[in-house]
């Protein structure tokens, strides 16, 4: 059946089997392979994208269920060569090693800061608690999200001053 999903602002139409999972739709059709596909069992969070601004495990959602919804993937974070503050934070704080978990971590972190610009460390840990990183041990990821929050606060302050 034909399905149209808006991915990073662009409508993408494809004739799919209803059983196609969102993660594969995203990776195959627009070819956005930034969204990773890990455990396949909704446990690791490598596949997290945003649906209407909220984090979603795309391995546990059918593509056909997303018709009429806005999907945002990691590719949308960088705009005109400028990294999103969460991406900058991961860079500054060395929050990745192999990078496999990173797209999912970035999307959850972005959604967290959009909802709560000044989260506590516990709130950051809770937000990413459905996601597994086998490399960095989480400390640096929490520090990176903290960095992004501080960075955004100071940018806002400068803009207001």
């Amino acid at each position: 059946m034909d399905v149209t999903i808006t991915i990073n602002g662009e409508p993408v139409t494809r004739d799919v089997e209803p059983r196609l999972l969102l993660v594969h739709f995203i990776r195959e059709t627009p070819g956005l392979t930034g969204t990773h596909w890990g455990c396949d069992t909704s446990n690791c969070g490598a596949c997290v994208v945003l649906m209407d601004g909220k984090p979603l495990k795309s391995c546990t959602t059918l593509a056909v269920m997303c018709e009429g919804h806005e999907i945002t993937t990691v590719e949308a974070l960088e705009v005109d060569g400028e990294l999103d503050p969460v991406q900058q934070g991961f860079h500054e704080k060395h929050a990745l090693q192999c990078g496999f978990c990173t797209p999912g971590m970035l999307m959850t972190s972005r959604a967290l800061l959009d909802e709560n610009p000044d989260p506590s460390d516990l709130e950051i840990r809770t937000a990413i608690s459905g996601q597994i990183c086998r490399c960095t041990g989480y400390q640096n990821i929490v520090a990176a999200v903290r960095w992004a929050a501080d960075h955004e606060a100071s940018t806002k302050q400068e803009a207001g001053a």
């Binding site: 059983r19 909704s42 984090p55 056909v64 608690s129 996601q131």
Partner: protein
Amino acid sequence: MQTPAPFEYERATSVEGAIASLERLGSDARIIAGGHSLLPMMKLRLANPEHLIDINDLHELSYIRDEGEEIAIGALTRHVELLDSALLAEWFPVFREAEQVIADPVVRNRGTMGGSLCQADAAEDLSAVAAAVKAKVVIRSTSGARTISMGEFHVGPYMTAVGEGELVTEVRIPKRPGGGSAHEKVERRAGDFAIAAVSAAVWIDGGTIADAGIGLSAVGPITIELTRAEELLRGRRPSEELFAQAGAIASEDCSPSADGRGPADYKRHLAGALTKRALRRATARALHQEA
């Protein structure tokens, strides 16, 4: 790569339409709500429905309402909404406590009240919560609506009283004075299903327990309503000794099996300890003695 077996998909645009499709398609059809229990089962080919009816557009099934005598929760209400509800936190703090430890925030954005109950997985937390607060489930079909208790709702492992052509639309919880409630769960790691979990609610009138509800998760083939302990508690003054007796009943009346989450005797021990703790905290809340 895990892929479900092929199926036909349709999106319901009204409750009536969903029920009509269920009736037309019979046992070949399944509702999909959050999909966070059903899709994993379909990927493992443990469930192979031929038709899926997606109810995610039925916003009329998504609400938490004060209806005077009762609180009504729509079947499509998501975990995150149960977690954030001030109304539920005021009347039944057990919801917020359970929701803080159900899966993880990303899963909680999708999983629903109705899906959790209909999955009828003994390891699932909301069924124990619903049993403890004496919730009733509203089931609709073309011939109207029927309302049943949690005891009638769960008929076996992964089996409910929801028949062909029927849709769960709502959960209703009676508001009674003097109540307090709490959820206790032990899990292997953040976001995991329980090794054991206990929901408890008590209603206190004039210093004695007028009524109590206790639901146990993950320590038997289905969610256990601990009726023998509820009977023991009714009409008694709350005390540590009484809670310990209720805990002993929990250890006796549960029937856990050994698995990757732990041996049976450990789970039995947990059922007792968590029952005691949940009752202690529910009672403190009912008496406004919470620290």
